[in-house]
């Protein structure tokens, strides 16, 4: 018999958590709506709705459907991919300071992408080589850290961090030897930019598949975040789970990097932000992170292309400018509550 004061503890699952999830969903929809309306030619909310209802006059319809919608969806997919990858990576290395790039995956992609830019390649070639670089970086960490079968988070983290700094050096080298004419594009790529994101379809598909692949592992993640020993004692095959996490986090990160370069901050801070909002169960945290990361990046990208219009800013700068104060505020508030 539970005493009355315990009744709310017996309710499954937490109502507050679902409320937060709903709110994040609304935020994402709001951000997407704003992204469709704002720009060099403003479109009213009514016109945006009319476009989707199929009653659009030529100009607004083309602007919304052909220009703004693909870019907004690319931003959403990229932000969501980074946030989910960050959540996974943090549990994988049992370190809340990890971000999707901590193991050097973006470094590998960056080196390959810069080589492609240096060679004057673009479009699919750029995308393809960035993805190849990410895969190479991923296999390198995996091979080096996993050699004797013992996969401690510290070893993984150290291997990744050391390789990441190696990639960093290669990136600097490439920037130094590149002709000035190429530098601007390279810097934009490195800072993260959605201007050349292209078709959002593949990234959205990978996001969907990634979430479907992660979600069945979510309760295992709740256990694994309390350490290998506790996870093993509670029936989790930790070695298998870690390998899957590594593959999933790496592929999601690689897809995001290919879409928009190395956008910082989203993958590190969104998982924390979502946890601070009260979503600590990974079954809710992962979808929550996807919505929050996607929504934030859509907002950031909208600002990036409107703030100093017609000049466009790299979206990575904006994510940091919005994200840092927001995060510090939540952190302060979280510290005050008992």
């Amino acid at each position: 018999m539970a005493a009355p004061r315990h009744l709310n503890m017996l309710r499954t699952p937490d109502r507050h958590a679902f409320g937060v999830l709903l709110l994040l969903g609304l935020l994402a929809v709001f951000a997407l709506g704003l992204a469709l309306m704002l720009g060099s030619v403003p479109v009213t909310a009514g016109d945006v709705l009319a476009v989707f209802a199929g009653r659009a006059d030529g100009m607004a319809g083309r602007l919304v459907l052909e220009l703004r919608l693909p870019r907004a969806l690319s931003a959403f997919a990229t932000g969501a991919l980074l946030a989910v990858a960050g959540s996974l990576m943090q549990v994988l290395v049992r370190n809340p300071l990890a971000d999707p790039y901590v193991l050097g995956i973006s470094g590998g992609a960056a080196v390959a992408a810069l080589l492609a830019l240096l060679a004057g390649l673009g479009g699919l070639w750029l995308t393809g080589s960035a993805f190849g670089g990410a895969l190479l970086a991923m296999l390198l960490v995996f091979g080096l850290a996993h050699r004797n079968g013992d996969w401690s988070p510290t070893r993984l983290l150290l291997t990744g961090v050391v390789l990441a700094s190696g990639w960093g050096a290669l990136v600097s080298f490439l920037l130094v030897v590149s002709p000035d004419s190429r530098l601007h594009g390279m810097l934009f790529w490195l800072m993260g930019d959605l201007a050349y994101a292209g078709d959002p379809g593949p990234a959205l598909a990978i996001l969907g598949l990634g979430l479907l692949a992660c979600w069945p592992l979510a309760r295992d993640l709740n256990v694994l975040q309390r350490g290998d020993l506790q996870a093993g004692a509670l029936g989790v095959d930790t070695r298998k789970l870690q390998r899957r996490l590594y593959l999933l986090a790496s592929l999601l990160t690689a897809s995001a990097v290919v879409q928009a370069g190395s956008i910082g901050f989203v993958g590190l801070v969104i998982p924390h932000l979502v946890r601070l909002l009260g979503l600590t169960d990974h079954r809710l945290l992962l979808p929550g992170a996807a919505l929050a990361g996607g929504g934030l990046l859509v907002l950031a990208d909208t600002l990036a292309r409107t703030l100093l219009a017609p000049q466009q800013l790299p979206v990575g700068i904006i994510t940091a400018l919005i994200g840092i104060p927001l995060f510090l505020h939540l952190l302060q508030r979280g510290a005050r509550t008992p």
Partner: protein, 255 residues
Amino acid sequence: MKLITRQLTIAAGERVLVRELDLVLEAGQRWAILGPNGSGKTTLLHTLAGLRPPRAGSVELDGQPLDALERREIARRLGLMPQDTPDPFPATVLETALIGRHPHLSRWQWEGPADRQMAVAALETVGLADCAHRPVSSLSGGERRRLAFATLLAQDPPLLLLDEPTNHLDFPHQHTVLQRVTQLTRKARGAAMSLHDVNLASRYCSHALFLHGDGRSEQGPIRQMLTPDRLERLYGMPFRHMVFEDGQCLVPWPD
């Protein structure tokens, strides 16, 4: 519930900690694992839990070799309260206790009211029900140990393995925890725990296993094992046996 080790040898690196141990742990028994620091108590518990492969020999649970069982199946039959439970990510006390239900739920299943009830009851046992919605990071060291014990209670395994369960606990809670273990293991369940307090061992345990740390081990019913002579040989330090009108105790007594 029956756990058997056959010629079990465990080692840390080159150092053999336990050599060719034959042990039978049955329902109704509570084994105290005693020995100096670094003698292999934790390593042995991890090996018994199937979390670490032995150097040689085998562990059998209910007649099946441990390495032939799936991890989840093992977790339904035995539970381990680790010496240390890190929590780098935020979670509430109730969520942490609920983690104990993990091996009992299928992949797509959510914790139901019955699971929550078990977690809440476990928190009540350790006196943390009032903190159910507090973040774990706000708990003291001793409260965290009690929460780790509550997680094990929520797991509710037939065999309880406890690694220094009384570490960091105040005296009343040391007894609360061991009384609960005693209650649970009266009939269908068994327990093995590493301890550093021989008087708690003598009060609550039925058997003792001494680990000397060089491969040698001794075992037997608790009364036979806890004598000043044997303890002196185990710890390399003299012990005194003190007898009162209504009880007795063993006290380390350096020369």
